[in-house]
């Protein structure tokens, strides 16, 4: 009691900090919690109870869970083998393989599906032109393949860290005690990697469940929760049905998310031993090396095919029939979608900037250790969007801000704000990681010399967190310009963006123009990454810890 009084009195002397808490708290409540509650409370209880009697709802639930199991299993398996190869120093080309695994992370979320239609569909370059087959790629098998390729990089990157962190001394000790390579793998490497595998599976599962872009392009007539909301609104203007389907989707995603945060991330710490020693790993047997190389090669080809297909599609006159080269698609695509591309860049840049600023501020405020309860609440709001599928945010903003008293519908701002708050967790986690690297006494020194709470933020943390800030900006920017799951619900003819047009072009059979616009979008994201690399190289001058 007495302690609380002292805290309040101390805080009253730092009104700026207090104001920052109020401000960040208010925007997170308004733009994260409010839309969330709005969606969940939109359908009546009777609507929820009616789900079990509706065969289409039940099919969507069943299919979504089936896709989750199928795609998560294969993506994690592929990711594990890929990561295993990347952590063996004597597997040739591991750097190249690593770069290739990063590629899908920059791609618009519908791109793998679109590319595989071009390659393996009925008019597919490989299936029809080269092999003379008549293949229908639409439906669950196509989606399975596409999601495996689209999401294995998440698993591979997590597992690479996990496998890398396993101290080679432990494996050496097992060998020293008489275990052969297979036994070492089975009894030491695999058990130590198990929490990492679980973390990778959970992350992939969340992504698969929430995957809208690939599903809408390639799932065909297969009902899925992620796409159901879109069909309800597009075809039937059924807001209740849309809210119902994304609420159904929310249940498993939040469950997986909580599992990941509470259970796995805690076990991850205990399983990974320090990197005290730098023992070399022993050479990988030649047959294992060969098998890994062949496997990674095949996976890499599947990834590269995505890019080849889109670039080729952008220059081919009529895909599947007339393979002559042309620039017409660029002309058409840019004439129709050039302005939208510009819109995408503007919306992406503004939202990424807002995301990074709010996230940095939030991370700073939740690290104060002054009001534990308040900080925990802010922390919850800052990570919550990570558990929300894009379609959920899309519906949420549609329901919350498309009607009085908050009418933002049809303006760029509804897109900007939705994207901003969906991406907060990325910036928040980057800023938190950065904060942990900075010794607390540096901040105390500033306070001791007369800096108030916000002054500390400005003088100490903002300059020292430039790296994480930039990382957060680039990630949010790329995700914003390539986003489809949110924007489909919020665009109107007055605030069109590129991804929406591409989806419309694919749907209308304008593959060449769609490919050209996608290629332009890709070029944009790669340019953003390249610029960020350049900027980071210049800004690191005297970081506290390397």
């Amino acid at each position: 009691m007495a302690v609380g009084v002292v805290r309040w009195r101390t805080a009253a002397r730092d009104p700026g900090l207090l104001l920052a808490y109020a401000l960040v708290g208010a925007v997170l409540l308004g733009f994260v919690l409010y839309p969330t509650l709005r969606v969940i409370s939109y359908p009546a209880l009777a609507d929820y109870l009616g789900i079990v009697d509706n065969p289409r709802w039940m099919a969507a639930v069943r299919n979504s869970l089936m896709m989750m199991v199928l795609s998560t299993t294969t993506a994690t398996l592929v990711g594990f083998l890929y990561a295993f190869a990347m952590t063996r120093a004597d597997v040739p080309g591991r750097r190249v393989f690593r770069s290739i695994a990063l590629l899908p992370l920059f791609a618009p979320p519908f791109m793998v599906a679109f590319a595989y239609i071009l390659m393996f569909g009925r008019q597919g370059l490989i299936t029809r032109t080269l092999l003379g087959l008549d293949v229908n790629i639409f439906g669950w098998p196509g989606l399975w393949l596409v999601q495996t390729v689209a999401f294995f990089p998440y698993a591979a990157l997590i597992l690479e860290h996990v496998l890398e962190a396993i101290n080679p001394t432990l494996e050496q000790a097992a060998r020293n005690l008489g275990a052969d390579e297979r036994t070492v793998f089975r009894t030491v490497t695999l058990p130590l990697a198990r929490p990492g595998v679980a973390a990778a599976m959970l992350l992939v599962a969340i992504s698969v469940l929430a995957d809208f872009g690939n599903a809408v392009v390639i799932a065909g007539a297969l009902p899925l929760l992620a796409t159901e909301a879109w069909f309800r609104i597009e075809g039937l203007a059924d807001l209740t049905g849309a809210a119902l389907s994304v609420s159904l989707l929310l249940l498993p995603t939040v469950l997986l998310f909580v599992l990941e945060r509470v259970w796995v991330s805690r076990r991850l710490y205990t399983a990974i031993t320090g990197r005290g020693s730098h023992l070399e790993r022993p050479p990988t047997p030649w047959y294992v090396r060969g098998a890994l190389l062949a496997f990674c090669g095949v996976v890499a080809v599947f990834v590269l095919l995505v890019y080849v297909a889109v670039v080729a599609g952008a220059f081919t006159r009529t895909w599947g029939y007339n393979w002559s080269l042309t620039l017409d698609h660029w002309r058409l695509g840019l004439a129709q979608g050039g302005g939208q591309l510009l819109n995408s860049v503007q919306i992406g840049a503004i939202s990424a900037l807002l995301t990074s600023i709010i996230a940095l501020l939030a991370a700073f405020l939740t690290s104060r250790r002054q009001w534990p309860a308040l900080e925990r609440a802010l922390d919850f709001l800052a990570v919550l969007p990570g558990a929300l599928p894009g379609v959920f945010i899309g519906i949420g903003f549609l329901l919350a801000f498309n009607a009085p008293p908050f009418f933002l519908g049809g303006t760029p701002w509804i897109l900007i704000l939705a994207l901003t708050f969906w991406h907060i967790p990325f910036g928040y986690q980057a800023a938190q990681a950065g904060l942990r690297q900075i010794d607390r006494s540096i901040e105390e020194a500033a306070a001791d010399l007369g800096a108030s709470g916000l002054r500390i933020l400005r003088d100490i943390y903002v300059p020292l967190l430039r790296g994480p800030f930039l990382a957060s900006f680039v990630t949010s920017f790329i995700r914003a310009v390539t986003n489809l799951s949110i924007v489909v619900f919020l665009v109107t003819p007055r605030n069109l963006v590129a991804t929406y047009s591409i989806l419309a072009m694919i749907g209308g059979g304008f593959w060449g123009a769609a490919a050209a616009l996608t290629a332009a979008l890709l070029a944009l994201t790669f340019a953003a990454v390249a610029l960020a690399r350049l900027a980071v190289g210049r800004t690191i001058r005297a970081l506290p810890v390397a």
Binding site: A2, V3, V6, R7, R9, T10, R13, D14, D439, S441, I442, E444, A445, A446, A447, D448, L449, G450, A451, S452, R455, D459, I460, P463, L464, R541, A542, L543, P544
Partner: protein
């Protein structure tokens, strides 16, 4: 300038009582050291003065003004941190100027005062360097200049020398002390190094488990420790538990020692005897009191002195002999314990 007064200050972290009922007066312009093992509450006490922690109970007064509710940036204290906590993204000049900028001092004056402060700590010509490029000793000086330049009422030093090597530590501590005398700055210094505390302080407050065990000058702390913890933590000592047999006599087992007058007969006491207080003889001394015959069990040459472990009267005695010269003694020896160098503690 101002004095610092802690009145009955307590601070708990969860179930742990980090600081318990600490009452301490640091007079104006004095150099007071908080000394104790790690976890004794000395750093917590310092941070309570700085304002990083609010005390759960009690009052903190600086210059007679209660500052419990003042956040750190509103207190006229300046701290030198154990890891220096220099701002890595600012040059030496910007680091030292920071506190002045916060106080809205005009730029021209900032420049003058920063350069003067750097001059004061003997560091010129590195103004535009980043801290990471400086040696540990130089960083330490920057930290000191940064604290001094704001002309704080109270200077707080948290183990400022612990990251320096042994030689440099001795030199810098002498410099810090000279600087403090020159500026007449009220200073609170935290260390776990008893030798450092003895060398540098006007007064020492020895702490253990959150409580102050004794406050006194270095001489008082060393020669008249208030309890067994202080006697044991500051310097080395032989301890002997016994009972006052008659005025000026203590009996411990079958050994009787002549001691200074003090506690009444029948009282249980602990005899504290510094190793250098015992005289070591090869021949039995002619008319000494408290002479014991013994045998050297172990000897160790330490440069400026030799340390002996002598078995006498059925126990081990630690004896320091300064400047041993040619070599160490072995075999039969005689210990002489001057009565006036014995310190008595009431048994705990």
């Amino acid at each position: 300038m101002a004095d610092v007064r802690l009145v009955n200050v307590s601070k708990r972290f969860g179930a742990l009582a980090a600081v318990e009922a600490v009452t301490l007066h640091v007079p104006e312009a004095s150099f007071t050291t908080l000394l104790g093992p790690s976890g004794c509450g000395k750093t917590t006490t310092l941070r309570i003065v700085a304002g990083f922690y609010a005390p759960d109970e009690g009052d903190v007064l600086i210059g007679g003004r209660r500052v419990n509710d003042l956040p750190p940036h509103r207190r006229q204290t300046a701290m030198v941190f154990q890891e220096y906590a220099l701002f890595p993204h600012m040059t030496v000049f910007e680091n030292v100027a920071y506190g002045l900028r916060m106080r809205r001092v005009p730029p021209a004056e900032i420049r003058r005062r920063v350069l003067a402060a750097l001059e004061l700590v003997g560091l010129r010509g590195v103004e535009d360097t980043f801290p990471a490029r400086l040696s540990g000793g130089q960083q330490q000086r920057v930290a000191l200049a940064r604290a001094l330049v704001v002309e704080p009422e109270v200077l707080l030093l948290d183990e400022p020398l612990s990251n320096l090597d042994a030689k440099l530590r001795v030199r810098v501590r002498a410099e810090i002390r000279a600087l403090q005398r020159q500026l007449g700055k009220t200073t609170i210094y935290v260390t776990h190094d008893q030798e450092e505390a003895l060398a540098i302080s006007d007064r020492i407050a020895v702490m253990d488990r959150g409580r102050i065990q004794q406050i006194g000058t270095p001489l008082e702390i060393y020669h008249r420790p208030a309890n067994r913890f202080v006697a044991d933590f500051v310097g080395l000592a032989n301890f002997l538990d016994g009972e006052v047999a008659a005025p000026g006599q203590v009996r411990a087992g079958d050994l009787t020692l002549a001691v200074p007058d003090g506690p009444p007969p029948g009282r249980r006491v602990t005899v504290v005897l510094r190793p250098e207080a015992i005289r070591l003889h090869v021949q039995p001394p002619r008319d000494g009191e408290n002479v014991l015959r013994g045998v050297v069990a172990q000897a160790s040459f330490l440069g400026t002195l030799a340390r002996y472990w002598v078995t006498a009267a059925g126990r081990q005695w630690m004896v320091d002999v300064p400047s041993p010269g040619e070599g160490v003694i072995s075999g039969e020896v005689f210990l002489e314990i001057p009565r006036e160098r014995i310190h008595l503690l009431a048994a705990e």
